[in-house]
């Protein structure tokens, strides 16, 4: 930083007064000590990350954690915050938080009322999850924060996972994790991306393991990769025997974990008599099982709404069905259990099922039975078929689960314990988008266009918010959705097919000014304006991660352009077909009098591809981008003959 001379004098003046190192300073935190390779690409550098998890009893444990991290720039600022969550089963104690400047001189210590205690309820109606929070409000880069705390557990289903990398663009000087437990209170360990075995020792009946990694250079995020928590070195730990609020269980197998959940749920599916009669009444005129499930699912959807309430063991145990029936709300567990109770009354078999929900459909650590779930759905086996019901949705058609829980391993809870299952995989034909358009052009290059798109599977998911919004927000969303420079919506229509594989069809009539670009007396017509492929891939550097395409999908576009009077096409591009392991692309232009037909098809193949094929992938993507940007040259007939 170049500062005027005077300022440096002033600063110098302060240094002279204060540069004597005090005992509270930490010269070893001096930023100059960080090696150049750890600075590269980093917004923050972990100097020391040290955790110790000590199991003391069936449900008692203490986790002590120290983090020293140097913040290099504003993008690393969030790492200067302290944020640790706790709930009824754990307490945070002995927080010590200090800020040091670039040279390791102590700037301030934070205590008392500057340590905030906040509720985590925000998204839910009520939960006893809270967090301790400190913002040191310091921004003179670079600087270092050092903190330590203790977390005391009473109830041990989840043991903190140790990630050796906290995030992208953070490098690590030293990261150490140790666990210890009495011989008779076994824990299980799952190592991810670790080469070296831990240092193990046993002393007076206490087993201890220690992992340590040093000098981890910062990693950058890459497009088409799996989530960071699945790819960096990490230690997952789970108890074998455990107890939560007096409910004991073990995690020797998925079967055993399932038994614990079953025990929590048992006896909570009793419905009041009136509701039982209503259920009978709803289905009494149809013997068809699909129809019965459909009607009862709709009944549940109309009657209830999703409200999250998480208190103590209630984070694992659903409300009783009678409670949901009375108040008409519940969280995923309560609503799933309620739907289960309804189907039971209709003599339809169904199973409470736990799943890791989210846009990402990554596999479980299957060989490591432990709590890897955050959501509940209902599994309804019918002849030659399994129906999955998302019970927190008031709008899903029966049996449609969408990208929130599709294609993943789940734990089905049965009387005999847990059983692995797999939710619906939507195929390439199901994740389908079809666009039919007619674009009428005038001599000025303006267009009057009609679009009709049919969206299924993941394309349906993307359109749901549009259906949900009110008029103004909907228009706003359509303006953002359509990638045309200047246009006005004349009218639109939305219609939803609520079937097991649902679809949302969007019809649009727009007027676009300057749809074509003028070039002298020619008009340049962009062949694919409305549905371009977007992907931003890193062009330089070595690919770090494998290439992940989460879902197969396809798009079929067919656009008919009506040319302005007296205009003809000057260039007809050749038909294009690009075939690779990742997918397929084709585009074709054909001429019929004063109309041009453009047909484009894109298919993507779900899969994980080795990083060695990155060049091929880049070529595939850039060829598509290039083709999607092709233009047709239109000229006036008279001009052509000149």
């Amino acid at each position: 930083m170049s500062r005027p001379f005077l300022t440096s004098c002033l600063l110098l003046f302060f240094f002279i007064v204060t540069s004597d190192l005090k005992a509270s300073d930490k010269p070893e935190y001096n930023v100059a000590h960080i090696s150049a390779e750890l600075i590269k690409g980093a917004n923050a550098v972990v100097r020391l990350d040290e955790g110790h998890f000590e199991r003391q009893g069936i449900s008692k444990a203490v986790f002590t954690h120290t983090l020293v991290i140097t913040i290099l720039n504003k993008k690393g600022l969030k790492w200067s915050y302290f944020r640790e969550t706790y709930d009824k089963f754990s307490k945070i104690k002995n927080i010590d938080f200090t800020v040091y400047n670039e040279s390791g001189k102590r700037i301030k210590k934070i205590k008392g009322e500057d340590i905030h205690d906040l509720s985590l309820t925000s998204g839910s109606l009520f939960s006893d999850n809270r967090y301790k929070f400190i913002d040191p409000e310091y921004q003179e880069y670079p600087f270092t924060v050092a903190y330590s705390y203790e977390e005391v557990y009473d109830g041990l289903l989840n043991i903190p996972t140790w990630y050796f990398y906290p995030d992208f663009n953070v490098s690590v000087e030293n990261s150490i994790y140790t666990i210890s437990y009495p011989l008779h209170l076994q824990v299980k360990v799952y190592e991810q991306q670790l080469n070296d075995k831990p240092i193990a020792s046993t002393d007076a009946g206490i087993v201890q393991y220690k992992w340590e990694l040093q000098n981890l250079t910062a990693i950058k995020s890459e497009a088409f990769e799996k989530p960071i928590h699945k790819s960096v070195p990490a230690i997952f730990i789970s108890p074998v025997d455990f107890e939560m609020d007096g409910y004991s269980g073990n995690l020797l197998s998925w079967k055993d974990f399932g038994s614990w959940i079953y025990q929590l749920n048992s006896g909570r599916d009793i419905l009041p008599v009136e509701t039982k009669m209503e259920i009978k009444h709803i289905i009494n005129d149809t013997p068809d099982q699909y129809e019965q499930i459909d009607r009862l699912y709709k009944f549940m959807q109309e009657k209830t709404r999703y409200v999250s309430v998480q208190v103590g063991i209630g984070s694992w145990q659903p409300f009783e069905a009678a409670y949901v029936d009375k108040y008409s709300y519940g969280d995923c567990k309560a609503l799933t259990n309620y739907m289960h109770a309804i189907l039971k009354e209709a003599e339809i078999e169904s199973y409470y099922t736990i799943v890791y929900a989210g846009r990402n459909n990554q596999a479980l650590r299957k060989e490591f039975p432990s709590n890897q779930f955050n959501h509940a759905i209902l599994c309804v086996p019918v002849e030659h078929d399994t129906i999955w019901l998302e019970c927190t949705s008031q709008s899903n058609p029966m049996g449609y689960i969408g990208s929130f829980t599709d294609d993943r391993e789940v734990l089905i809870i049965t009387e005999k314990g847990g059983k692995m299952g797999h939710t619906t995989i939507y195929s390439k034909d199901e994740n389908m988008q079809q666009l039919n358009a007619e674009v009428v052009l005038d001599e000025q290059g303006n267009a009057h266009a009609f679009y009709y798109s049919q969206n299924m599977g993941i394309h349906y998911d993307a359109m749901v918010p549009l259906v949900m919004s009110n008029e103004e927000k909907r228009q706003d969303a359509i303006y953002k959705y359509l990638d045309i420079p200047s246009f006005t919506i004349i009218s639109y229509s939305l219609d939803e097919k609520k079937e097991r594989l649902p679809a949302i069809n969007l019809g649009l009539e727009v007027k676009a000014t300057n749809y074509c670009t003028k070039a002298g007396n020619r008009l340049l017509l962009p062949l694919n304006q409305a549905n371009k492929f977007h992907a931003q891939l890193n062009r330089n550097g070595v690919r770090r991660s494998d290439i992940l395409i989460n879902r197969s999908y396809q798009e079929v576009d067919s656009v008919v352009y009506t040319l302005p009077e007296k205009y003809i096409v000057k260039n007809i591009p050749n038909q294009v077909e690009i075939i690779s392991d990742f997918g397929k692309y084709s585009a074709n232009v054909s001429l019929d009098g004063s109309t041009v037909l453009y047909v484009r098809r894109l298919e993507m193949n779900k899969g994980s591809y080795p990083k060695t094929s990155y060049e091929e992938f880049k070529d595939f993507v850039s060829s598509i981008v290039k083709e999607d940007n092709k233009k047709l040259v239109l000229v006036e007939e008279a001009a052509q003959t000149n």
Binding site: P4, L6, L10, L118, Y327, S328, E472, T517, L524
Partner: protein, 620 residues
């Protein structure tokens, strides 16, 4: 100026009729016709409708009661049955759900089991309720009572509101001011009773100031509370507020404290230069270097002793800017504090004295016979620019002699200049230099987001698929009084297209407006850019000797009638050298709704013109 007293008089004259007026709704008494209705004309796509929001102040209890009556119209509107209220712990809530079952009204009471009270942040409480048995078609009534007057009464919501009414009867215990905001008219203003009818849902638009400036609402400022044995007085006039600041130990008093440390620094600076401007810049630089702004906007200092805060090296906006004022004063400048409301805090109304509405202070100093507004919190902002957060209407000058108002306008712009010098080769690859310079607010934005050259270059090429960089240079990142400059030696492969006989060369490789931000037809609120915009571009192309120009884009000169926006564009050629020159200027920062359509058309012109390619062909 509308003082409290005129309001009081109004209450006396028409107060009687207001109190005689029946409440618009009574808790628990719903109209069966509303239960039967499935659609409301005001917005047929609404997920829910607020049939009524009624609030009444009870001066003897010193409590305020809200009543909400909401009709659920769609499945996705059911979340309106979950409500959050923030309050002290004494907040009381009750509720009822009404459903029509076989033509009969069925009522479910809100159970205590569905009311959750918790301390969400230190001493603030959050009360969550989940109404029972809510279905499409249900009506819910919720009543919520809390201590004191609310700070804000919003007549609008994110769903339409058919009837919103607030009554604040005159009371000997409390006097208050109210400030009105928003774009929707009220239907009834009747002394102490205000009613708005058929309020559309509030929807945000791009390029607006804080949404709080647009929603139709009242803000309340309590002027005085006097309970037996308790008296507290607040501002009634701006003069009262001036006096409050002057007498505040965290404002006027701390400013007047003897301060030898600042005297020393002032003397040092005065020795460095005789130029007034230079000395002011040195004073600002001193604070940039010595103080870390903790991102808190506050109307007063955090400590009685500014020296202490200075030694701590960290403070809120008023800590730092009061230091600046003290420093400038000791340097011999005529300087006053100006208090203001930042953009995210909403617009200050000069007609309604309000201390709550002030959350920031800057210096107002006379330099070479002219007055300047100065802020020293943000080291990215060069004098005489003010940070964007401060550009919000008017500020109040605090001074015994000069007390009054000052426009918080800026002389700065969001200004950028680009200059390209490019050679087209026969293989249609373009090589050459691209230079960019960002000035003033454009430079502030650039510096704020800049992390490292490596990161910047990666983002730069990732956004420009056919471009690769051979050499690059980024200058003046740290020297805020100079423009940020970037120079690149580039190679571009994707900005030319050959149709077989002719070649189309993009005039502005990558750097042009691509989508109109104002495609949406209707605009409710003014467009607010915060500061003027200016972009100048020059692109020189040299084409190969055996290429010939077929046609150049025609020149354009488009100006808004009041000259507030202009676009000048020309492409000319001399021999094998083509020059593109353009200037796009937005001269003012605020456009009212009637100018919106024109503004949108300006963008259309710019987009269309910048997209036009140069037409070339090869000589056989």
């Amino acid at each position: 100026m509308k003082s409290f007293y005129s309001l009081l008089l109004g209450v006396f004259l028409i107060g009687m009729s207001a109190s005689a007026q029946k409440a618009p709704i009574k808790f628990g008494k719903v109209d069966i016709d509303d239960l039967k209705r499935t659609v409301y004309d005001i917005d047929t796509s609404a997920e829910a409708i607020m049939l009524c929001h009624y609030g009444e102040f009870n001066p003897t209890q010193f409590t305020f009661t809200h009543m909400y009556r909401i009709k659920i119209l769609k499945e996705e509107g059911k979340h309106w049955a979950n409500q959050k209220f923030y309050s002290d712990y004494k907040g009381d809530v009750r509720g009822k759900t009404f459903n029509l079952v076989d033509g009969e009204i069925v009522v479910d009471k809100l159970s205590n089991k569905s009311i959750f009270k918790e301390e969400f942040y230190d001493n603030d409480y959050m009360i969550n309720v989940a109404m029972p048995n809510v279905k499409v078609g249900s009506i819910i009534d919720i009543e919520f009572t809390h201590f004191s007057l609310p700070y804000i009464w919003r007549f609008q919501s994110t769903i339409p509101v058919l009837h919103s009414e607030i009554r604040v009867p005159q009371s000997e215990y409390v006097t208050f001011q109210k400030n009105a905001f928003g774009y929707e008219p009220l239907s009834i203003i009747d002394g102490n009773r205000w009613v708005a009818k058929n309020m559309p849902a509030f929807v945000e638009e791009p390029y607006i100031n804080s949404s709080e400036n647009y929603i139709t609402k009242f803000e309340f400022d309590i002027s005085e509370i006097y309970f037996p044995g308790f008296y507290k007085s607040y501002a009634k006039t701006w003069e009262n507020i001036d006096k409050y600041f002057d007498e505040s130990s965290l404002f006027g008093v701390t400013m007047r404290n003897p301060n030898f440390l600042f005297k020393h620094i002032a003397d040092d600076i005065n020795e460095k230069s005789t130029s007034e401007i230079e000395r002011v810049k040195l004073a600002i630089d001193t604070l940039y270097a010595a103080m870390n702004w903790n991102e808190r906007s506050r109307r007063v200092a955090s400590n009685l002793d500014l020296k202490y805060v200075f030694k701590e090296g960290e403070g809120n906006s008023s800590d730092i800017n009061l230091m600046l004022i003290v420093l400038l004063e000791k340097m011999g400048f005529e300087v006053y504090p100006v208090v203001l409301s930042t953009r995210d805090h909403g617009l200050l109304s000069t007609f309604n004295p309000s201390r709550n509405k002030l959350n920031y202070c800057v210096a107002y100093a006379k330099i070479d016979d002219a007055f300047y507004l100065i802020d020293a919190t943000d080291e990215h902002v060069p004098f005489p620019l003010l940070p964007k957060r401060c550009l919000n209407g008017q500020g109040r000058i605090l001074s015994k002699e000069k007390s009054g108002w000052v426009n918080l306008e800026t002389t700065g712009k969001n200004k950028s200049v680009l200059f390209f010098d490019l050679q087209l080769n026969e293989d249609l690859v373009i090589k050459g230099k691209m230079s960019y310079a960002d000035y003033q607010y454009a430079a502030v934005d650039f510096r704020k987001s800049y992390i490292s050259k490596e990161e910047y270059l990666e983002a730069f090429i990732n956004k420009r698929p056919g471009l690769s960089i051979n050499e690059s240079d980024i200058a003046n990142i740290n020297d805020i009084y100079e423009p940020v400059k970037r120079n690149f030696e580039v190679e571009i492969t994707d900005q030319c297209f050959d149709d077989g006989s002719e070649i189309y060369l993009n005039v502005l490789p990558y750097d042009r407006f691509k989508n109109n931000p104002f495609n949406i037809k209707n605009r409710k609120y003014p467009v607010d850019y915060a500061y003027p915009y200016e972009e100048t571009g020059t692109v020189k192309f040299t084409i190969p000797d055996n290429f010939e120009i077929v046609e150049l884009p025609k020149k354009a000169n488009v100006v808004m009638p009041d000259k507030s926006v202009s676009f000048i564009y020309s492409v000319t050629a001399i021999g094998k050298t083509i020059s593109v020159n353009y200037l796009f200027k937005i001269n003012k920062s605020m456009f009212i709704q009637s100018e919106y359509e024109m503004l949108s058309m300006m963008y259309d012109h710019v987009i269309a013109k910048q997209a036009e390619p140069i037409l070339l062909k090869r000589n056989e």
